[in-house]
Structure formats: structure tokens, C-alpha cells
Symmetry: C3
Subunit: 355 residues, 3 copies
Amino acid sequence: MAGIIVQELADAVGGVLFGSGDILITGAASVNDAGPGDIVLAENEKYLAAARSSQATAVVVPEASSCDGKVVIQVENPRQAFSTILGLLASQLGVPSPGIDPSCRIGERVKYGQSISIGYGCYIGDDVTIGDGTIIHPLVYIGDGVRIGDNTVIHPNVTVYPGCEIGARVVIHAGTVIGSDGFGYIPVGSKQCKVPQIGNVTIEDDVEIGSNTSIDRAKTGTTRIGSGTKIDNLVHIAHNVKIGSGCLIVAQVGVAGSSEIGNCVTMAGQSGAKDHVHIDDGVVVAARAGVIGNLTKGVYSGFPARPHKEAMRAQAAYLRLPEMMKEIDNLKKQIEELNRRIADFGGDESGVESR
Amino acid sequence: MAGIIVQELADAVGGVLFGSGDILITGAASVNDAGPGDIVLAENEKYLAAARSSQATAVVVPEASSCDGKVVIQVENPRQAFSTILGLLASQLGVPSPGIDPSCRIGERVKYGQSISIGYGCYIGDDVTIGDGTIIHPLVYIGDGVRIGDNTVIHPNVTVYPGCEIGARVVIHAGTVIGSDGFGYIPVGSKQCKVPQIGNVTIEDDVEIGSNTSIDRAKTGTTRIGSGTKIDNLVHIAHNVKIGSGCLIVAQVGVAGSSEIGNCVTMAGQSGAKDHVHIDDGVVVAARAGVIGNLTKGVYSGFPARPHKEAMRAQAAYLRLPEMMKEIDNLKKQIEELNRRIADFGGDESGVESR
Amino acid sequence: MAGIIVQELADAVGGVLFGSGDILITGAASVNDAGPGDIVLAENEKYLAAARSSQATAVVVPEASSCDGKVVIQVENPRQAFSTILGLLASQLGVPSPGIDPSCRIGERVKYGQSISIGYGCYIGDDVTIGDGTIIHPLVYIGDGVRIGDNTVIHPNVTVYPGCEIGARVVIHAGTVIGSDGFGYIPVGSKQCKVPQIGNVTIEDDVEIGSNTSIDRAKTGTTRIGSGTKIDNLVHIAHNVKIGSGCLIVAQVGVAGSSEIGNCVTMAGQSGAKDHVHIDDGVVVAARAGVIGNLTKGVYSGFPARPHKEAMRAQAAYLRLPEMMKEIDNLKKQIEELNRRIADFGGDESGVESR
């Protein structure tokens, strides 16, 4: 990373610079981790103190804040500005130069946009369409008839099965598989007969997908990931699932066949949803929760997933269970004592029966 | 997909055709998802009604059923017939032409059957055997000494480690790894010493394995997946596991070392089994269940996995826990009141002690 | 596997040999699984009996033990000796011959050590450093600026993103991804804006990583895996996580962003940890446990993870829940009966109110 001078960064975020503008910023870090040349974010007093005692060269701070001994960029929204600065520094990370590596196997009737890059050792099937500015890293398999939009990035060792559609500005990380067969079998006697999976997968614009994730093609029709949805690593999306726009699907989540997830839904890490459920817009499914029915607006946790407050009450009671058992034993003994005493009064020897 | 005329589909499933036989079917869909050119399945009245109002061109129906305005194929077993039709339509999807791509690196003493296809950029080690009609898609690694049966399909970016055996009519989806080392270490002081893993993996005939699944080689001997077993995406099968025939191992399941799973066992999504357990033939392990001991015939759920009915009773009670806590409090108060009243009768001031 | 004569194996482990030293050992197996040519381990009487009736050729036994009809190697620590023997047999498994396959795409300014091997179809970026004796199997992607230590082995279809650092004697199994972007977004209105991830991943010496595992690069700084730590298959390690030395991270574990795991920690299969938690040295997190806060020394289980004894007590109580519900009902009836009887004595008709 060659670096960017701090004046350029301040200008890019519309910030006010305090200090020498020609200092070179070569990296970014958290305040606990920063070395010379790094820029850090200090949103509040706690982080300003840490920034001050760090080795960082420059600090992004809120308006009216200062940070002794550091180059300072004051901005209205420090978090947003820091994100922009990270983006500028990241854009310095090597991107492959445009062109198609001569090692690649390119099919027939492939249509390319402008300024595309296809890296070493890729297989591009027949009738593939690739949009402007799209980057395909080395060792990627793109099956026949796949359509990819503009400015999309596909990382190494990704597999996109035939017939799938990938939108614009999509990012797919290494090892991810788009369009493997759905898991569909009909038991006939003791054998499991395969239901052919002839649909595809559609990844809409601005989706990002992590590494080693699997998204299965539809049995018929399409498995759809809505625009702007972000999917983490090692996620399983089964056949015919529909996920809306702007969702966050965190690592190791599994969504079973034909389930429908609305817009702006969060499924936190290691949660899951059974097949054919519907999750409304804006629902939050907590980490490790297991969805077994339709969910309407709200936060859900536990397995089976329930409204979070209810789940928390049951959880709290669960932790008190050993104590509850003792209390029940105690109540039993008290009742026996009461029976004994009443028998003393009334001469009724039998007492209340213990059932 | 060029399509198949509907008469041909009807003949293939031994069905009775109502309507014009030369109409072209270009795809298949669910009734909610169908467009012109599609064939759909309508097993009962509910689906017949949906089919009627869909845009589908043709419908597969039970004997004696009709569907106004659609081309109809009447059959005895509509589900089975629809599966056959899906298969015919799927067979129209491009399969690679036979031959070995000149880009491949082929080892020494490799034995090929008839009509095989090895795609672009594959590595085939020494002493590999590949059966008749087997298709190896691009960018696959096949290690030394691997034996692959007839009519097997291996999708892109798969890795098969040296010495593993793959049967006939097996399908392995993209990104899956067969034969990585088992996770075996012996602690010596504060270090973990590796136990070398010199066994292999045997995948029997008619097995299908999803994408990004990992099946570890045995420490010694073999990790075995029995004939006809179907494994979904992102599944972990540890070293020395034995899985019987006709099992369904759903997405994100993990089976720890040396466990033995019988025939026709279902392990539903995100469930797991610890090491060295035995699961009998026909057992069903419900989604997200965690098996920690041997299981005999039946359905099991929860963690630790218990007989499903028992687990459901505990689950039901769990949901009533906050209510139970209130009831216990209420009983306490009533007993106090009883004590007070008995003391009034008997002049015994102490009451029953609260323990 | 050509095999090694048994005298050579006995000498290598400092054992005492009983039987003919020139018999060839061609493999190793468990006692239940052994065939002719195999060596087995028999640590105690139970296994000695099984070894005796097995088809094994040779047996590793404790001092003073014997095994009729077999070639015997007596040693002080049979487990350790057997591990050494497995290692000797494993070293006979084919390793690629040194050299760089001419098919590879090698970047500029790459620095190689002695006796390295880079297999067919690899992509090696600019400014990469590769240490002595390191083996890179076919179809691997190594990004720009990656540094790899001595005697490391990288299996097929692995992706190492630019800028990551891999130590000496590291093993990375097939399909694993090192350095994919962390899952970081800032919600701005209904959109999720990406926080660029410009840090890297550092894998220290003697780490082993299973297949299809994902380790994300840091947002800034580094995601660190400490020396000697062993990671299994399908594990998710998020951005900025720090894992100490000598840990065991078992299959399908997930660790969320910025969490810190000490030295010699075990996280058993399918467990998880939320973001920003700290786990002390030596902690054991049981299978399927979910860590939601900091953990100090001890064994933890359940979700949320609690001290194991406490979790077991709650678990035991959980299983008694249906019974507890019956007991509460029974207590209610007894109290009603007591009320009735007291009312008989005292002429108070109302009894104790049921609240």
C-alpha cells in the first residue's frame, strides 16, 4: 500500500484538517492496534484518550474534538467518514489489470462489457454474458448461459453453475458455490429418487456473499437473493428460497427449502429456518435461534424461535429450575406437616392423600 | 432448453394425454410460479385449482382428474411421473462432450473407461482409475490412486485426496472435499501432536453429496458412505465414520469421529452426533438435535437428543415455566395462610417452619 | 504404500521386537478393521484380545504384554509409539516432487526457498515469499504479497487472499479460504454500507486448518491464529478474532468478530462465540455451547454457556419438568383439600383464595 496524503483524505470526506497536510497515511487500524502511518477513528472521549496514547499518525474525530500530538480530521459523522477513508485506502489494494488471461478456457458466444478482467485459469462456459468493469479472479468456474452484471467481483475458486444470474456490483468471496442442486428426493421403497433440479439462482444487484457459502438452484423457477442483501461465510441457502432486499444473513445460517424471507431481515449467526416458513420484513432472528413457523414483525430467539421477551422469561426460569425443584420439595413437606397437624385436631387419621 | 413436445412426455410416463400433443414444453415449475411453456404437477384438488388459474401450459394430474384450459397428462402416480418428466427436461441441460481437455495434467498409469469427459484445468494423479461415462467438470483435483466408478459426475472445484474410492453413479457437487485429514491429536505437554491419518474415504454407489461438504479420511481403515445415501451442503463427516445405505444427511449436519449410522437414517438440518455413537437403522434425528449416545429405533429431538414425544413434553413444560414459577409462589402464600389459620385454632405460634 | 519392515519400525520407537524383523508392514488399522500387512495398537487387555483374533500382522503393546501369533513391538508408551509409526507409514504417501509446475502463473518479485513444490494450475501473485520445503498442491490461489514460512503444506483449491501471512510447518486443507472480507456493514437508511476490510490474516507456526474453513481478514490490523492451534473443517473465524496458542477448534465452530480466545482453549464441535467476548486460557467450551460473555477458567456448556456443573443441574431439572408440573398440580389439590377441611373446623366458608 503506497499510501495517501492526509490532506487528500480530509478533502475526500469534507473534513477540517489540523496538522500538516502532506503526511502520508499508509494504513488504518483500531486505536489499540495502530502503528506509525496509520489513521484511526475516535468517535468519543474514551477512544480519543486511546488514540492520544497510540502510535497512530492521524485521527478522525467529531467536530470540536481534538487529539494532542496527532494529525486530526474533524468531521460531522466520523464513522461514515472513516468508512470512506477505508474505502480509499482499500482501492489502493491491487486489483487485476483489465483483460482476459490467455490461460482461460472461454466458451462460444460469450459477450463481454468494457474493461473486464478475467484471471488465470478460469473456465467461462458458452453463452455467458459479463458486464462492464466486472472482475473474475483466477480459478473460477462460470457455467453455460450465466449472466453477470456490471462492476461485479468474483473471487478465486468460486463455482457458478449453468444458467444462474448475477447482478451488478455483486461481490462473491472465494470458495462459494452458486447453483448446486437442491436436496430433493422422493422415497420409492427403500431408495431415495432424485427430483431433478432444473431451476436456477438469481443474485440481485449489490449483494455480497462471503466465502464457502452454498446457494442451491431451484427445483423449478429460481432461488432469489434480493438486492443489497449481505450473506456471510458458510451459509446454506436451499432450493427455491426467496430472500428480500437489504437483509443480513450472518455466518453459518441455514435456510431450508422454499422459505421466504422479507426485506431488511437479520438472521444472526448459526440460526436456521425450516422449510416453507415465511419471515416478515424487518424481523430479527437472534443468534442460534431455530425458526419453525411463520414470523411477524419483531425479535425472535431460542429454539423453537419465540418472541424474544417470552424466550428470555423462559430462559430466566430455566436457570432457576434447580431452585424451583427444591421449593416444590419444601412445599410438599410443609403440606405433610399441615396434614399431620390437622389430623391432630380432627382425629381424622387418614390425612390428605399423597397422589 | 430447447424443450420437448408434450406427447413425448406423456408417452415417457405411460400417461393419457388430453389436448394437442405437439405443443412444446420448455420448462417446469410449481403452480405458483409457472409461465407459458411450463408443465406443472397437480396432485390434488387444491393444486388443480391453482394450476387452472396459473399460466402453465400443461399439467400432470391423477387419473380421472381434469384441468380446464390446460393440456393434461393423466397418470396413476403423478409425483413419480413429474419426477421422470423433470429428468427428461434436465437431460436437455448441457453436459460436457466426451474427451479429455488438453489443458489437464494427467498422471501416469491412469486407466479410463469409455465415453468419459474430463473438463478444463483438472489435475488427475498417478494410478487413477475412471469408469465408463464418468464426467469430471473443470478445475477438479483427483489425487494419486483414486478409483472412480461408472457414470459418476464430479462438479467443479472438488478435491478428492489420494487413495479415496468413489463408486458408480455418484454425484459430488462443487467445492466438496473428500479425504482431508481427520482431526486427531494427542496432547503431549502443552502441544497437540498430530496423529497421522493414513486411511481413506469410500463413497459407495448412487451416493449424492452437496456442495462445500467435507468428508475426512480415516486415521486407519476407511470412512464409509453407504450406497444410495444422500448428503446435503456444508456437512461435516469426521474420520472413521460409517454411514449406512439410503440415509438422508441434511445441510450443516456434523458427525464426529468413529460414529456409526445405520441404514435409512435421517439426520435433519443442523443436527449433530458426537464421536463413537451408534445410530440404529431407520432412526430419524430431528433438525438441530444433538446426539450424545446410542439411539435405537425411533424419532429423536432436542439436545441432548431424546425420544421425540418426551422431548416435546419437556419442551411444552419449558414454555410454561414462567407460569409454573407464579404457581409455586401462589402455593407458598396459600400454605402460609393455612399455617396462620391453623395456628389460630391451635395456639401454636410457631407454624410450620419455612425450610 | 510400499511398506516398511517391522524391525525398522521397532527401532524407530526404541521398542523390543518379538518375531521376525524382516516382515513387511504395508498399513495400519484399528484392531476391528485390520487385514494382513497391518500393524495395530493394543494398549490394554481388551485390545490385546481383539488384536489376537484380528488379521493384523503386528501389534504395538505395553511393556510386559504379549500377543500370541503376532509380531509384537513392546514399548513404554504404546500410543506415542503408534503415532510415530503412523507418521513413518504416512511419509511413504506420495508427496509431490520439488519444482514449480510450468502451468502455474507466477507473479513478479516472488521469492522462493529451497526444495519447494508448486503443483499444477496454481496462481502465485506478485511479491509472494515461499519458505524452504513448502508444498503448494494444485489449483491453489496465493494473492499478492502473501508470505509463507518453511515446510508448510497447502492442499488443493485453497485460496489465500493478498497480504496474509502463513507461518512455518502450517497445514491448510483443501477448499479453505484465508483472508476473505470480514462481515462489516454500517446501516445508512435502509441500505447496508460496506466497511472496507483492509487488514489481513496471520497464521502462526505449526497451525493446522481443516477443509472448507473460512478465516476472515481484519477490518484493520490482523486476524490472528496462534502457534500450534488446530482448527477442524467448516469453521468460521470472523474478522479481528485473536486465537491463542495450542487451541483445539473443532468442526463447524463459529467465532464472531473481535473475540479473543486464550491459549490451550478447546471449543468443541458446533459451538459458537458471539463478538467481542474474551475466553481465558485453558477454558473448555462443550459441543454446541453458545458463548455470549467473557469466560474465566473452567468447562462451560449450554446456550447461553454456563459453568458445566450448573448447566448439568438445569439440564437434569429440565428433563424432570413434566413431572414437576404434575407435582405442582398435586400440591394444588392437596391445598384445596386442606382449605376445605380447615373450613369444616372453623366455619369459615371462603377458604384461602386462589390467586
